[in-house]
Amino acid sequence: MVAAMTTAPDVLRGLSAGPAHEVPGQARDRVAPGSDLAPIWGWLDQVPDPEIPVISLVDLGVIRGLAWSGDTLEVTVTPTYSGCPATAIINMSIQDGLRARGVQKVAITRQLSPPWTTDWLSEKGRAALEEYGIAPPQPAGGPSRCPHCQSENVSKISQFGSTPCKAQWRCGDCLEPFDYFKCI
């Protein structure tokens, strides 16, 4: 019943300006069930993360699959942290974002396994985080450099921060505190 699922990296590779990057918001023609999933991935890549709006839900790696089931678009979503209050907002943003593009029926399925990992953050997302002032996750467990001045003289203030996905660090050179995206 469910058509073959697609995953983000292969379809997003090579996406450039096109129908996927049009300005959202206007009434659109209905998207035909069964139509190509690649532009839909592009639309979801325009839906911002509610807590860190400089990255998209696709950048965050929480959209695990898209598939048509009859006339319904099934979106498989994985939570970041078990108690993350943004989870409900993320689901609403997906619904709103796809409806605005003319997808009539959207069903969201939660998938826990395999558990979300920061390895799924896109390269584009990692760069956007740093540009915004949030150090991207590193396997070593701490930021490689200050996102403001690029100094490597950084130290941890707290393992936790303003959202479940972040920790607090500070730079010893420019003396600015900054958020670090926890590596899990």
């Binding site: 939570p79 942290y81 078990s82 108690g83 993350c84 209050p85 826990l112 396994s113 395999p114 558990p115 979300w116 990992t117 203030i157 707290s158 393992q159 936790f160 921060g161 303003s162 479940p164 607090q168 926890k182 899990i184």
Partner: protein
């Protein structure tokens, strides 16, 4: 009542009650960063409780939701460990309680992430990552405060002595554990290996006593749980069915 339902309540209730206890610190932490860390830990635990209790409600199949299980059961229907209902005390007691629990949950969730029931396995694998992160912080703080000033050392030793009799219950298996194919006594060695770091790095003395208060996992609780539930449940109890 099915063993799976009982077992899921044990996992969900321990996460929920500890999450509620830790949330009591919100706005009262010793300093801002620690206040935020406590609130984040509580949030993770309440999220984990939701995952376990949602599945418990499904397994029970009586149309109850995770919220119904959280807000509409009395103390004798709760299946959490006695350890997690202990009062917060000072910050040392709160973080020691967290550490003793985290050190237990890491090997338990590791075991459960290979469970035959795929839903249990996936919830365990998901929550294991957060729990390992919690352990990193709680161990670090217990060691630093244990090996800290005279006062912090004395408070951490008092916390360890006070909470120690509530740790034995974690390793006592019963028919429910057996039916689920989990032997809690097999987790003690891994737990103790972690806890011994309080001695080696934290300069604290592990108590000799093997005495264990027990009963939480089968519904016999201390008087403290009633007060926790009174605060947690009052809104649903006084305004039944109230929703956002």
């Amino acid at each position: 009542m099915s063993e799976t339902f009982e077992y899921l309540l044990r996992l969900g209730d321990s996460a929920l009650i500890l999450g509620h206890r830790v949330s009591e610190w919100c706005g009262h932490g010793p300093y801002l960063e620690e206040d935020i860390a406590l609130a984040n830990t509580a949030l993770d635990l309440i999220g984990q409780a939701t995952l376990w209790l949602e599945y418990a409600a499904e397994v029970e199949g009586k149309g109850r939701s995770a919220d119904d299980l959280a807000y509409l059961r009395d103390a004798h229907e709760y299946r959490n460990l006695l350890l997690v209902e202990r009062p917060n005390g000072d910050f040392g007691q709160t973080i020691m309680r967290q550490f003793l629990f985290d050190a237990y949950m890491v090997p338990l969730l590791d075991r459960l992430s290979a469970h035959d029931d795929p839903r249990i396995a996936e919830i365990a694998a998901k929550t294991a990552k957060e729990t390992a992160y919690h352990l990193e912080r709680s161990l670090d703080l217990c060691v630093r405060l244990g090996d800290g000033t005279e006062q912090s050392h004395a408070r951490m030793q008092a916390a360890l002595d006070d909470l120690w009799p509530y740790t034995g219950e974690m390793f006592l298996g019963d028919a429910v554990d057996a039916a689920m194919g989990v032997d809690p006594s097999a987790l003690r060695e891994a737990w103790l290996a972690t806890v011994r770091q309080l001695e080696t790095a934290g300069t604290l003395a592990l108590p000799d006593s093997e005495y264990a208060h027990k009963g939480g996992r089968s519904g016999q609780h201390s008087e403290h749980l009633g007060y926790v539930l009174a605060e947690m449940q009052w809104l649903q109890r006084s305004n039944p069915g109230a929703a956002w």
